[in-house]
């Protein structure tokens, strides 16, 4: 059975990439760097700015003034003289050694405003009166809100949102390919028979591994060169002033990090290629040789699982957990692995349904689809179980150094953090419980797509609070980049499917798989 990527599929995936790229570019120019307000009274707001774009202070001031003027208020940015004095102080510091300047920068904001809000008087009348009358909020609240939700903010010179999204998508799609590789080796190592007719689909999905690896490598190179600050421990100034991170330097340092990353990527890429090559070679072998190849893959599958058992944990510590460098959780590796595995299973299901729809999989019957559906259901449960275990234990013990992780998420990401969990747990739990829905295409496609996006948000919640803090946003940049990645990934998978027969004709368990029923 052969498959060739159709023109329509090509158009759709490339279109997805194109539109995504367009949105991404537009979104790219709306990255913000926030200023942090504190409301002091109805007419007083204190604003801090911690970034390094001192020169833009006047522009932002103007922006704030204009915004408030439209509401009928005028702003007084504290005592001018005093403000200058603060600046002068900073300027003097800059001539000192770099260390003390950095130390200072970590203690005090770059600049701070003490804003007094007055009613704008136009020809002796209180214009603001009529405007502000209907609102309960004090003008200071209104202004503070504009700062805290990013309406008035600097544009981000470090493109943190872009880099963070690159990491989220890179890791998510890397995980899908890796999850397919994992499941393939599991299938061999456990001598499973039922899924033989799906093995080529897993092979195609795992062949998209380089996409994730390249993107992650770009993020890591950027981090190493200081183009982004995703990993605080890569910043020697931070490390020098942070005892906790300093204590982790033996593990978290750039050379060792790179050695580990090269190990992971090297091992994964090697096994991925080896499995593809061997299974293709098997297609043209006689029965005896094909059986020998099968047993070779059985042993290699087990070997890969050994590597994977260690690497899946350390990899997620390195790539994700070390973003929140102070924080630690022993379960983190297994938790993120369960998400990876589930996302891969959804991808396998979707590609299978697509190919079946196109009429390319004559041996795949409803029992196979049912089984993949069972995996989706079971892995959703596994993921929820691990999420709950990690959350509940940290919540229950309430130890400050651990619970901070969830405190930041609940403070600034409350909705997506909990909504993500509820959707990813409840939806499959209710709708995929029955055997009928596990075979029903509409259910599988709908639930599958929703929890696929749900698990993207899971990765989002793992990364963003550590890189963007409360300055996150969800907009064109996120949507665009996800679309670009999705389009590219599917394109790569479909192209790869066309490179070999869709069935491993000489697999010794092929007959079992063909006759598989419930």
């Amino acid at each position: 059975m052969e498959f060739q990527i159709s023109n329509k599929a090509k158009k759709v995936t490339i279109g997805l990439m194109g539109v995504g790229l367009l949105l991404l570019i537009v979104g790219f120019f709306f990255q913000k760097e926030y200023m942090f307000p504190t409301v002091l009274s109805d007419h007083e707001v204190y604003v801090e700015y911690w970034g390094d774009q001192v020169e833009k202070e006047a522009d932002v001031k103007k922006e704030a003034e204009e915004a408030m003027a439209a509401l009928g208020y005028e702003l007084d940015f504290g005592d001018e003289g005093e403000e200058h004095e603060v600046h002068g102080h900073n300027a003097a510091e800059e001539h000192g050694d770099a260390h003390s300047e950095e130390a200072h920068a970590h203690q005090a904001p770059t600049f701070e405003w003490h804003i007094h809000i007055k009613h704008l008087e136009v020809e002796g009348e209180h214009v603001a009166h009529s405007v502000g009358h209907g609102h309960d909020a004090a003008p200071s609240e209104t202004l503070a809100h504009m700062f805290s939700n990013g309406d008035i903010a600097m544009s981000d010179s470090h493109f943190r949102r872009f880099w963070s999204n690159l990491l989220v998508n890179g890791f998510f799609f890397f995980g899908i390919a890796l999850g397919a590789l994992f499941y393939l080796s599991l299938h061999y190592a456990t001598e499973s028979g039922w899924g033989v007719v799906l093995l080529r689909i897993m092979e195609a999905i795992m062949s998209a591994l380089p996409l994730g690896m390249i993107v992650l490598a770009i993020v890591f190179i950027g981090a190493t060169l200081g183009l982004n600050h995703i990993y605080p421990w890569m910043d020697s100034d931070v490390v020098a002033h942070d005892d906790l991170i300093w204590g982790k330097v033996a593990y978290l340092n750039k050379p060792f990090f790179w050695i580990r990353i090269i190990c992971y990527f090297g091992v994964f890429a090697y096994f991925m290629n080896w499995f593809r090559k061997t299974s293709r070679k098997q297609d043209s072998e006689d029965v005896e040789k094909a059986t020998a190849s099968h047993f070779l893959m059985y042993r290699r599958g087990a070997l890969f699982l050994v590597f994977f058992a260690v690497f899946s944990s350390t990899m997620s510590w390195d790539i994700i957990m070390s973003i929140d460098t102070h924080w630690f959780s022993t379960l983190f590796g297994w938790y993120s692995f369960s998400g990876i595995w589930l996302s891969a299973m959804i991808m396998i299901m979707m590609v299978t349904l697509y190919l079946k729809h196109k009429g390319n999989l004559e041996f795949v019957n409803s029992a196979h689809i049912h089984d993949v559906g069972k995996w989706m259901f079971a892995l959703s449960f596994l993921w929820s179980y691990l999420w709950f275990s990690q959350f509940m234990l940290i919540w229950y013990s309430n130890i400050p150094e651990e619970v901070i992780y969830f405190v930041t998420r609940i403070e600034s990401y409350k909705f997506i953090f909990f909504a993500m969990f509820v959707v990813n747990f409840v939806l499959p739990m209710i709708f995929l419980m029955s055997a009928d829905t596990k075979k029903s295409w509409p259910y599988l496609i709908f639930i599958g797509l929703v929890i696929f996006i749900g698990h993207w948000f899971d990765v989002f919640c793992m990364v963003m609070p550590g890189t963007l803090y409360e300055e996150w946003n969800f907009g064109l940049l996120e949507i665009g980049m996800f679309m670009t990645f999705l389009g590219t990934f599917i394109f790569l998978v479909l192209r790869s499917l066309g490179k070999s027969s869709l069935v491993q004709n000489n697999h010794p368990f092929l007959e079992e798989s063909k006759h598989h029923h419930g």
Binding site: F388, F391, M392, Y396, M433, S434, A435
Partner: protein
Amino acid sequence: MTDKVIYAMYDDDDVTKEACQSLVDNGVHVADVFSPFPIHGIDPIIGIKHTRLGIAAFMYGITGLLLAIIATRYFMVSDWHGINIGGKPNFSYLENIPSFVPILFEFTVLCAAHGMALTYFLRNKTLPGMPARNPDPRTTDDRFVVEVRLAENSNFSLDQLNDMIKETGIVEIDEKTIK
């Protein structure tokens, strides 16, 4: 009202299945099949509907979940309102829900499993002390018995039925009159 029952005995599950298929194809209604183990694929042939015990289990489970929610809410939030245990005062159910989840889960499973098991025993009429009701003691060992009732096959005479059954690879045939 009395009825004649024919018990056809076979020594293989696949032969039994084929026999039922051929009888049903001839228009015979097969009342039941007794076997020492489940014969896969025989249910649709002799017209046995899929059991709804799975749905029952789901309903029992939901009931258990609701009961557990009501109980934990009553103990911890209504009755013990605001008591601070381990730095987690019981003001609202939702805020302390992580520590109720284990109970909710266990009670759901408890009700689903036992509810279903009880229903299963009642529906099968298998209860301690019930007498054995299989037509031949060998049906729990290595024999398979197909039961055909005359009253349910009024189109055929007893002899016709016997002849048809005898063509299906039986090892024994037996007739009984039941009330």
